[in-house]
Subunit: 260 residues, 2 copies
Amino acid sequence: MTNPSDNKTVTAAMLVIGDEILSGRTKDANLPHFAEELGAMGIQMKEARVVPDIEDVIVGALNELRHAYTYVFTTGGIGPTHDDITADAIAKAFGVPIDHDPRAVAILEAHYPKGHLNEARLRMARIPDGAELIENPVSHAPGFHIGNVFVMAGVPVIARSMLESVRVKLVGGKPVQSRQVNARLAEGQIAEGLGNIQNTYPDVSIGSYPFYSKGNFGVSLVLRSTEEDQLAGAETDVIALIRSLGAEPIDRAALMQGEN
Amino acid sequence: MTNPSDNKTVTAAMLVIGDEILSGRTKDANLPHFAEELGAMGIQMKEARVVPDIEDVIVGALNELRHAYTYVFTTGGIGPTHDDITADAIAKAFGVPIDHDPRAVAILEAHYPKGHLNEARLRMARIPDGAELIENPVSHAPGFHIGNVFVMAGVPVIARSMLESVRVKLVGGKPVQSRQVNARLAEGQIAEGLGNIQNTYPDVSIGSYPFYSKGNFGVSLVLRSTEEDQLAGAETDVIALIRSLGAEPIDRAALMQGEN
């Protein structure tokens, strides 16, 4: 659900690069963090893609995403090994040359003891022409941004530190506010009334998420909008709906054990 | 990295549908499970996309994915509420009508006590023309498959049970075998030798994943291939490389605390 009355929506997409996510070996932990941090800045995550370490696939996905959204954040594939092909793929997508960047080389030279900056590590200084570096306070090898694309490491602690580094460069729209109302009702009981409330408040996105666990069941209703008054109105109506069905809103803590 | 000599690769993509994943509120837990289960059946997960509850976006993503991969698995958006629009989007993508399916209605009628099968719950019996139902042993409302697309619930316990239900309908290729070798070496030390091994074994995908945690660091090397002999050769060479750098392979258990 979008906010159709808001023409100034600032959007983002995430491009997660790496065979290890698609094999199931590694669980992506960056999407939820980026989505929450960017959302709080008024940048709405609208799509995420996970692609393998294949140059043409990365290039194709990046070109689709960077033309469709305000910002694109990529994670993964910027280390020193043969499977780290993100920087070259980004250069290809933008149609620009790529080579060792003197600024990046200087950062690596300052970090590694004399004699340790071998050819493989120097690969991490390959930066597409025209890109700006993104500081990496954790392991030094920089990310970069070019156009509306921010290229970051996949290791979560590094990805997060890079997001902090670029925060000042991002311009958000109106932040999305959210409210959560929970009840021990089945989705099927509340669905009709909830649909009516959604129709009344087109600028509010109302999500309905059932949970089942250990005989515990219920529904979490999440209301999201950039418009505070619409959000408050929808929340009031949702609470009235729950009470009209003989239930009471319950707090989130009471739900935590039941969530799955 | 693909297996270029293997023309019979069976592939899959996952389409995760739901605003809650893109807001960061809910972490997708289905991709790793599906990737591992399908991988063991010789079906290689090649792409995943997360899209919001917007019909045109779902239709567009589904049409791209179903033409590009052997199988597509969707999760999310098949419940009874207004934001559950997956079934209609799938029908639109395939250009077929959608209506209450008598088989699905019968399942819901058998499940709900008399008088409880309201209009909202009946929405869960909306199935595109020509689709087959997917059994849902957990909460009864069925998923469905049409063409090469399998449409499932988002709640992990239900998604997993649906995957079990369709397992007999899936035809896999040669299963991908994997080996993991870990060492307390930096990626930059091992990168050159590892690149040489990758060039020697083009049918083996060699991934290099660094970890840092609490002063602990090292690298996990994951070798994947459908070719057992190639895999064994590459593993032998990787172990020899680690030893040539003065380190020893260490077991996975010793790494667990260091992984991030």
